[in-house]
Amino acid sequence: MTQIDSTTLNQWYVIQSSAALTPSQPRKTRLLGRDILAVRQEDGQATAWEVSTKGEQGQALPVRECYDYVWTTLGEPDGDIFSMPEFYEDGRRMVVCGIATVQTSPGRIIENFLDMSHFPFVHTDVLGAEPDTEVNNYKVNLRKDVNELWATECGFYQPKAMASATEGIEVDYQYRVANPFAAILYKTCPDRADAMDLVGILPQPLDETNCDIHYFMLVFDDVNSDQELIQFQQGILMQDRVILENQRPRELPLQRGAEITIRADAASIQYRRWIKEMGVGFGTL
């Protein structure tokens, strides 16, 4: 593999949920093309190592536990893991949905997550339906103080916006790309007019075109069980997976004009520009 750019290298990546990493269940996995092993020690501490090509224990990796996930890095991150204060709000449920293995680049995954115009075609009668296909103008801002990309004032008619939705609603969305490989969606909470539900995707890039997507919901929901919420989100992700694994190239093209774009793709256009400026070469063309 070619040398990995420093932006990609110096990120924190989720490698397992905290609950799934137990002393009896280590996780042998890969990150950015390297073999790693995550182990929960008997004293409760989460640890991780690189594993050499001969299968020997290599360099110890930094490990953090945050938002019910185990994070590590192969580089030297400038800062901490992005902030998500909603995690600490009273009454919210953090639902760790599991891992979806998808054969594509992390960039294609993030971009699909930011895209509303596929809802009527890929998530038919759930997140969208014909003839309500038009994507109204929305705003995309690069928040330079935190180096995050936000898309706001997004609205879309959804027949079944969340597991707890019983009828179609006009939902308000905000997208937050907290780093090149982590994105959170804030959407109208069907139960509470004053709050937004969160859905997050944290792709763990196994290599340039293979990812384990860790995904979660952080919601106010008194109706559905965790299992029902997970099934809903899993269903959405499985529909996306059919698309994601059949895009060519699997890498995200960053050159201007490589793919045709329209105004509804504003978030995608800005995302590509943003990670290109940061020098993200991993999983891109």
Binding site: E111, M116, S117, H118, P120, F121, V122, E130, T133, E134, V135, V242, I243, N246, Q247, R248, P249, P253, E259, I260, T261, I262, R263, A264
Partner: protein, 256 residues
């Protein structure tokens, strides 16, 4: 056995239903072949210019091939005509898909992906000399280069319909069919049961190739149906035999 023509037989006509699309993998091209509701066939690059989705996952609506991802609809010339996310704006002229010449002959779908192929069907010359109205029976895919596989197939046992021997008492001869465009062989079986099989095919990728098994029509509808079924079964047996060369002593292998 190399043909001078750029036409490649990629599918049996009957394997592409009306208003449907299918992927075809050629050595250097990902192709989508699709058929309109009224029966016309088209061959395009299998990629939506918007976000790279394979068009073979799309559906045919109003004689347009509609991308599975965002519903962009492309007309028969490969030009995008509607973008549902932006229903009131005209699609940009750059939103088009590369098209290749595509035609049907002898119940096969033929594609020309050469640079000279400009979408306007370059005329398909050649006459299936001595082979009248071929019926398509079945396509099978197997490992190996097309030339080598076709040569190998020439040594297989052919078991005509209604013949219940083991094939060892039959004589057969294999000839190239230079006049049938593409790389094709004709197998004439004589002896206890006489019949004729025509096999053509195309190189795929990663050392694989596709074979199309055909046989001439007799004009008798019921008999033709039986013969198609018979040679479809034989084709499956051929595929098994090609992928299990070590089982050549097995009576099921057409090479035993």
């Amino acid at each position: 056995m190399t043909s001078q023509s750029n036409w490649i037989p990629v599918s049996g006509s009957g394997d592409l239903a009306a208003a449907s699309a299918r992927a075809v993998v050629l050595p250097d091209h990902d192709v989508v072949i699709w058929r309109t509701k009224t029966g016309a066939v088209h061959a395009w690059e299998n990629r939506c210019p918007h976000r790279g989705m394979r068009m073979s996952f799309g559906q045919v609506r109003d004689e347009k091939l509609v991308c599975r991802y965002h519903g962009w609809g492309f007309d028969e010339e490969g030009q995008c005509q509607n973008i549902p996310a932006s229903p009131n704006a005209a699609a940009p002229p750059t939103a088009c898909i590369k098209t290749w010449s595509c035609t049907e002959k002898d119940n096969l779908i033929w594609v020309d992906v050469s640079d000279e192929s400009a979408g306007e069907g370059s005329a398909m010359s050649g006459d299936s000399d001595g082979v009248s109205s071929l019926m398509f029976c079945k396509s099978v895919y197997t490992d190996g280069d097309l030339d080598k596989v076709l040569a190998l197939v020439g040594s297989a046992r052919f078991l005509p319909l209604g013949y219940d021997g083991d094939g060892r008492d039959l004589d057969w001869s294999m000839t190239d069919l230079p006049d049938l465009v593409g790389d094709a062989i004709q197998i004439l079986v004589s002896g206890a049961g006489s019949d004729q099989i025509v096999i053509t095919g195309h190189q795929a990728r990663d050392g694989r190739c596709g074979l199309h098994i055909m046989t001439p029509s007799t004009g008798d509808h019921d008999l033709d149906r039986q013969r198609r079924l018979h040679y479809s079964k034989w084709a499956k047996r051929l595929r098994w035999s090609l992928s299990n060369p070590d089982a050549a002593q097995d009576g099921f292998s057409v090479f035993s």
